[in-house]
Point group: C2
Chain length 217, copies 2
Amino acid sequence: MRHQLLSENERAQLAKIASILRLKKGEPIYHEGSPAEAVFNVAAGLVSTYMTFGNSGQQTMAFLFPGDIFGLSEEGRYTSSAKAVTAVTAYKLPLHAVRRLLSTNADLDLDIIVKLCQELRQAQRHAFILAKKSPVTKLAMFLEMLEYLQIGRGEDHWEIYLPMSKSDIAEYVGVSLAALSRAFRMLNDRGVISCRDRHHAKVVDKVALERLADQPA
Amino acid sequence: MRHQLLSENERAQLAKIASILRLKKGEPIYHEGSPAEAVFNVAAGLVSTYMTFGNSGQQTMAFLFPGDIFGLSEEGRYTSSAKAVTAVTAYKLPLHAVRRLLSTNADLDLDIIVKLCQELRQAQRHAFILAKKSPVTKLAMFLEMLEYLQIGRGEDHWEIYLPMSKSDIAEYVGVSLAALSRAFRMLNDRGVISCRDRHHAKVVDKVALERLADQPA
DNA sequence: CGTTTAATTGAGGAAAGTCAAGTGAAGTGG
DNA sequence: CCACTTCACTTGACTTTCCTCAATTAAACG
């Protein structure tokens, strides 16, 4: 069994102070810069956090899967915006209640630290993807990352599940939608992956995928 | 007074279990994938963490200033390599001792959580820089980031101190050294910044710098 | 079944990367 | 104190590649 952030007991405690959110696809959760009143815990579906450029366009900062926590704030304000990528169920935990729980329940701290380390590594992985120049390399790394996370969640992994749209992926890896589309095509044509439909891709040639992901640029 | 990660009391406790490292410029500290035995705390100088590509070249993941902690590991192995960018003094804290301290000293947990949140935001900022396409925008964001950190450390900030070389910056923001050089030149020529020497830059036109940093691409 | 959204594909232009040569500064030893 | 070596950076010419824009096609949704 995989490592759970919270024990059953802890979950029960949190359930008392949490409210349940049910969100439709595309629905906003909070906006960058607005007062941070709560942290969230994804129960089902996919959430993304993103930062908007002053003018237009946006950079996706993270995808949050079931079990993930989001709602990081700085000086009482959210550092990024969040929205539901698919239909989402999430727990909303008021900050004051979380603080109270943290101060009385010492065991919780260690779990939180572990979770934060995971998120930190995740952010670094993301930075690593963004640093690459070639769309193909970015996509290869992204697919490997999703596969890795999927395994970590203990789900089936004979094929990779992609809950988000191609433009969502494009905004996460930092390329244009057109370039991402071409990258997908190239992986398909070369027999590296095989797409059953828009949301399911199977890795056919794992070695080739790794080789592409390890490219310097 | 700025927020300190550790109280004087906590510092004293840590001092007992820490060994002091003195490193020359360029000296390696640990290597990606090697067994993680300790975490480190920068006392003076500048450290960088980086990941190497299978073939050659490397991506700088973070710059660590005095007060920063580094040595993040996953499954007992360091997730990146670390080296001294300048001459460095650092405290080396054996993992077993840190664990013991954490389990007995509850106050420490909260400080660690705060610190991890800071690092997480930092990693996200880095990702944001890497996502930009224009070298000028990347450099502008990098300079703002350094200024911000410098203020956070409570140091003078009428000019920005750049301990690292231009190629170090280039590897952090993800552009070629040539492109970075051109970006510096352009900020200078347009009167946005003014470089006293290789390691000191003054922001002349803060508004223009912000405008450049806020560009979408 | 029609409408809206998502994705593909093509052509053209802008921009950064690479390569390579040259310049400047910093440190070294005589 | 000054040549000499080395390292850090600059600058130019050329090439590659991705982005932009736009026109189609395909898929999802009511």
